[in-house]
Assembly symmetry: C2
Homo-oligomer: 346 residues x 2
């Protein structure tokens, strides 16, 4: 069941219908796993997971067996269920929608100790292509309003399984933050007749003080009003509202910028926990004719290192406090990247 | 310096002009203090703090000496500076405002080990009255757009000083979350000609499944779309948009509901870290004639226990996931409160 807060406009997934008596509150969708033998994401343990949805697999190898490099499975502890129609309902002034959706896991490597900041160019491309293809496939299902691709790395970032993986959720609603961003880009477009993000990219290239990494297709920047130290955005330089429309030809360029950025963050902050989220235009509501405003959006990726010492301020104060200037974080990352100690695992 | 994110519309306080080289990122405004002798908030150590702004003090006792029960001081490590005019500026498409504001600390007890959930009725009333009076005083300064009263309890909630205290910040901008809430209440009022929060209160009293505590003046509820387990809101039952207008006659009733609620949370969750924030209408912009929309708001208090096991989901997924149904959290809290093991310290 999802519930809408009438005050903030945000939706919340109510993940349990039975209250766990405190202090038995446990992580929601994953359990701690440290050893390879018991890791459900390791090669050889394929039968510990639900049957795979897709895998990048050597030809001739059977499904749900060895011989894959990236593997997509349904989340065993899914927050949303794939069966049924989306049913919206009210309870007085409150709004609800039932918990129909999809919740998949992308296992990004067969190796237990693989680390995203060390992925080879080939692996990073495969991961990005997998995200895009799963998103496209899920959007074929017209029950889904928004497909969220995200990655939690490290316990502090909400991850409970060590083995490298990302998650994809298809939601019957548009999350509040994406609705807020759509409103900003729409208002900006109305006033300027230009894309807000395209203008940000132009200004960042011109001022050249917050760029972390850039090539012909993509740019990584520390945003002007970064909420967190070393918060980093990666954007396509050409206007594109929807991550689904990432072309095969653009993938190498995106993967290269991601590798530089993640490697820089890892080295600068001693392998910190981080969250990575793709922001992409939502599927238009039935009432939106033409989805014009969706096309004014500009998809991008946000990477947020989770530094324990600055946790708590957002809920405590009601606004963000960032002790690190984005210009100086960018300079620091550029230096580390220029020194070029990128370890490559595979 | 405060910067506005053009995408989300949120403002961020850039707290340092010099980057601390990782891993030297340290807490922003407070340092760890555990012993009474070295605690700047303890009675007898008054000269360790900046000169006091106000104190609830026995008559005849000198300022900045012993003999107080609640004491207000400027924050030694203030995020904002009181001097100067508010200067708004642009940098291409970006917006900034200089860091003019106030940052005060309310020391809520002279005793090092005092705990808010155990405050006597008298102390809780004094704390609430202090918050109101400081807010009113700060709003006399027309440079300030929003006065934020908040309290971080425990390290996980962002607090670095053990001794019981809350904080008050006067800001030259309106935080994004309050702007979002103002928009919701305004849209609701436009459509219904009623206050959104008054309707929530009516429905909560009628359905009687999410009430934690209630008396003639105030109601504590688990909100319908609670973002966090045991998130609790306390609201005045009569319509009032501004915490400044809390009358002396209402304070005992608010303090009583706060005491029951905090005691229930402490016992249910084994003395958890929590954040407490007052949401109140912002001061009208000069362009707002009459501040009509501000009066459609309804001030309230939000209490958010910080349970480590559910941290990380909001940034990881881009939306909130709550494993605990608010109806069941409310029932649990009511039972604990009914058993009545409220310890009273002083």
């Amino acid at each position: 069941m999802l519930r809408k807060d009438p005050v903030s406009g945000g939706w919340v997934i109510m993940a349990r219908e039975v209250i766990p008596r405190p202090p038995a509150l446990v992580p929601i969708n994953e359990t701690e796993t440290t050893s390879e033998a018991s890791c459900p994401f390791c090669e050889g343990n394929e039968r510990m997971t639900p049957p795979e949805i897709w895998a990048d697999r050597q030809s001739g190898m059977a499904k749900n067996s060895r011989g894959w490099s990236v593997r997509v499975i349904p989340n065993k502890f899914a927050l949303l269920r794939i069966e049924g129609e989306v049913t919206r309902s009210g309870e007085g002034i409150y709004d609800m929608v039932n918990g129909v959706g999809a919740h998949e896991v992308v296992i990004e490597s067969a190796r237990h100790n693989a680390r995203m900041a060390h992925y080879s160019q080939r692996r990073m491309e495969t991961v990005v292509r997998t995200w895009r293809d799963r998103m496209s496939d899920l959007y074929r299902d017209h029950r889904f309003r928004y497909v969220q691709v995200f990655r939690n790395y490290g316990q502090m970032a909400g991850s409970r399984i060590f083995h490298a993986h990302s998650q994809i959720m298809a939601l019957p609603i548009t999350p509040r933050w994406i609705a807020d961003e759509m409103r900003s880009t729409h208002e900006y477009y109305d006033y300027k007749e230009r894309c807000l993000f395209c203008d940000i990219i132009q200004q960042e290239i011109k001022s050249n003080v917050r760029i972390v990494s850039m090539n012909e297709g993509f740019i990584a920047i520390e945003p002007f009003a970064a909420r967190f130290p070393f918060e980093t955005w990666i954007l396509p330089r050409r206007h594109s509202h929807d991550f689904q429309f990432l072309s095969d030809g653009e993938i190498p360029s995106l993967a290269a910028v991601m590798r530089q950025t993640l490697s820089g963050i890892e080295q600068s902050l001693q392998n910190p926990p981080f969250n990575l989220v793709i922001h992409s235009a939502p599927q238009a509501k039935p009432s939106d004719t033409g989805g014009l405003s969706a096309r004014q959006y500009h998809w991008h990726m946000e990477i947020i290192p989770r530094l324990t010492t600055v946790a708590g301020f957002e809920w405590g104060t009601g606004f963000h406090v960032n002790p690190t200037l984005p210009e100086e974080a960018a300079e620091f990352l550029r230096q580390v990247i220029d020194e070029g100690h990128v370890e490559e695992e595979e």
